[in-house]
């Protein structure tokens, strides 16, 4: 069995398309992270900076207010980080100077940049909000969402040929051999899942390494709720740290891709050619996105459990919090196990029952 898994694994990674897909994802992920990093902008009232200097400036400003968010800190930030109106006539609230200014203005200032009268408890209730430099990890998370979506398509490209390419003629030899219908089918599925886990690990590791390289480890223990305007915190209204956010995102990348591999495996066993398996898998994969589901409805909750929403990440993270730090997204784990088991059983059964014409 071990030998068969090795061979099936080798077959997957011998395909040129697999390499093209994986390398494209890695290249795009580097390009996206680098572009985000290079486009960073910050202004501390005197100097403005971009790229690496902007990140350093943001970190320095955030370090000044680091710790638990209090009303005093809010007032201090509002007075020290006063936004200047610009020549295009934008209101102060829409002006972006640096990540800390943006975060405080989004929650505690009126349209002109003055205090809006809200206290920390008015905005965050009884939650203890730990603040610091979170923008780097929030941006890394946003970029990873796009990359993980691409990665799931790479997984489909990689897994779609697993069974159906055998139907081109080698099935004669496989299915007439002793373990063709049993161990070989199982080895194909196991190798498929292994390959999925490996390329997910590679892409996740690559992205995390880049994020560490660009932004350091600052802010991993800070709340996502005090993030700059128009960020993830607008959609994930729970007081979790950046570290927790990333752990969920990585978990969901794995659950999403394992589930996707399970679905693709079934179509690979069912379809007679690679293109049909690819199209059918993609169609099923993206189907939940076209469901007319209201964001508060049961259908939406169910849809977010589909692999597409695992990798899109924010919708499933926004559903509900079961208890402190444990979100609805944890249900992605049993769902992935279910997809993996169904994918395994169904594809093995279909392949074993295949007749050669």
């Amino acid at each position: 069995m071990k030998k068969l898994i090795q061979y099936e694994f080798r077959k997957i990674f011998k395909r040129r398309l697999t390499w093209i897909a994986v390398l494209a994802v890695l290249l795009l992920s580097f390009a996206l992270s680098f572009s985000t990093y290079q486009n960073k902008f910050a202004f501390d009232g005197r100097n403005q900076a971009s790229g690496r200097d902007a990140v350093e400036m943001d970190k320095a400003i955030a370090a000044k207010y680091e710790g638990v968010l209090t009303d005093e800190k809010v007032q201090q930030m509002l007075s020290e980080l006063v936004p200047k109106s610009d020549s295009r006539g934008l209101n102060a609230i829409y002006l972006y100077q640096n990540t800390t200014q943006s975060a405080v203005a989004a929650r505690f200032s009126d349209i002109n940049g003055n205090w809006n009268g809200q206290s920390v408890s008015d905005v965050f209730g009884s939650e203890e909000i730990k603040i610091g430099y979170v923008d780097g990890w929030i941006c890394a998370s946003r970029d990873m969402t796009k990359i993980f979506l691409l990665l799931s398509f790479a997984v489909i490209i990689m897994i779609a040929p697993v069974f159906c390419t055998e139907y081109g003629g080698v099935d004669n030899i496989i299915l007439s051999s002793r373990y063709g219908r049993s161990k070989c089918a199982a080895a194909k599925v196991i190798a498929g899942f292994l390959a999925t886990v490996i390329i997910t690990t590679v892409v996740v590791s690559g992205n995390m390494a880049q994020a560490f390289l660009f932004y350091g480890k600052d802010g991993l223990d800070c709340s996502i709720l005090f993030a700059p305007l128009v960020s993830i915190s607008e959609y994930i209204p729970f007081n979790i740290t950046c570290g927790t956010l990333l752990r969920y995102q990585i978990l969901l990348a794995f659950t999403g891709n394992i589930s996707t591999a399970g679905i693709t495996m079934i179509f690979s066993a069912l379809c007679k050619n690679q293109m049909a398996a690819l199209v059918a898998s993609v169609a099923v994969y993206v189907f939940p996105a076209i469901l007319p589901a209201a964001e508060s409805g049961t259908l939406f909750r169910l849809a977010t459990l589909s692999p597409l929403y695992h990798v899109l990440f924010v919708p499933i993270m926004s559903v509900s919090q079961i208890k402190d730090g444990i979100l609805f997204a944890v249900f992605a784990i049993p769902i992935a196990v279910l997809f993996a088991i169904v994918g395994y059983l169904a594809s093995c059964k279909i392949f074993a029952g295949h007749q050669v014409f």
């Binding site: 011998k14 003629g169 004669n172 030899i173 007439s176 051999s177 002793r178 219908r181 049993s182 007749q355």
Partner: protein, 292 residues
């Protein structure tokens, strides 16, 4: 060991590929002859469990092969007509992969693979990628993979296609030495191959076995129907178009020797000769898929 088909039938919609076939095969080499569409490949696929019968069954020593499952497949070696492979695998890798499918232990798989590569004349190409192989080399690799597990039942569909005469002789010798206490079924359009090595001939037409016996037995059916005569080259063409001619040989000096299958003396001075399998084949299947 006894392999038996009982009322074995396989249909594709309205078309009957194998029609209520009853036969019993014991150890020996069986040559399966028949025109295209006679049902040979379907029969082989049924015997290899690659297709399920529409009705009827196949029994190995009284047990249904469908129920024997892996046990039956472990006795089987199969070379399909359209032998496919993984182009990026080397010949040795491919054999090791098939050996793993057949459940051979790695050490013995490696040993056996090397032995077989040598036997089919591919020892120097073992480390070469299959995509660089010629048609004949691929065919030889196909033969090697079928024999990896020392199968008790060896089924070869068109094994000699693409082989040059030297390779065909090597193949025939290989099968002859291998066949002891085993069932070997081979289908081919090259009748002479069957004639050399098959102990029994199965002649198929429209999904049924129309003849079953040793080459001598079944060719005796057309004893007295095969003639040879020498004619001027100009006349030979006329007769070749008109009669069932199994061979036409230019003898020089403007004369051609015709081998004719005919119920009565086709031309004056024609002499009766010993029939061979090719004559019998032409007698039954003069027109592809049709015939007498």
């Amino acid at each position: 060991m006894k392999l038996k088909t009982v009322e074995l039938t396989r249909r594709y919609g309205q078309k009957v590929a194998v029609d209520h076939m009853n036969m019993t095969l014991t150890s020996g080499v069986y040559g399966l002859l028949g025109p295209n569409g006679a049902g040979k490949t379907t029969l082989m696929r049924l015997l290899c469990t690659l297709q399920r019968p529409t009705s009827g069954k196949i029994l190995l020593d009284g047990k249904n092969i469908g129920k024997l499952g892996e046990k039956y497949c472990s006795l089987l070696g199969y070379l399909p007509q359209d032998f496919q492979y993984y182009p990026d695998f080397t010949a040795l890798d491919f054999l090791l992969y098939v050996a793993a499918l057949k459940g051979l232990k790695e050490k013995s798989a490696r040993k056996k693979s090397k032995e077989l590569l040598e036997e089919v004349g591919l020892e120097a190409e073992g480390r070469h990628r299959i995509k660089s192989f010629s048609g004949g080399m691929k065919r030889r690799l196909g033969i090697a993979q079928a024999m990896l597990n020392d199968p008790r039942i060896l089924i070869l569909d068109e094994p000699t296609t693409g082989l040059d005469p030297k390779e065909r002789v090597r193949f025939r010798n290989l099968i002859s030495s291998f066949a002891k206490d085993r069932i070997v079924i081979l289908s081919t359009h090259i009748v002479s191959d069957v004639e050399y090595i098959a102990e029994k001939i199965l002649m198929m037409k429209s999904g049924q076995i129309i003849h079953f016996g040793s080459p001598g037995e079944i060719t005796s059916e057309i004893d007295g129907l095969v003639w040879e005569c020498s004619l001027p080259a100009g006349c030979a063409e006329h007769y070749a178009a008109k009669l069932n001619v199994s061979n036409l040989r230019n003898e020089g000096r403007g004369h051609t020797v015709l081998r004719i299958i005919s119920e009565k003396m086709p031309v004056a001075d024609a002499v009766q000769v010993q029939p061979n399998l090719e004559d019998l084949y032409l007698y039954y299947f003069k027109e592809q898929g049709g015939g007498k």
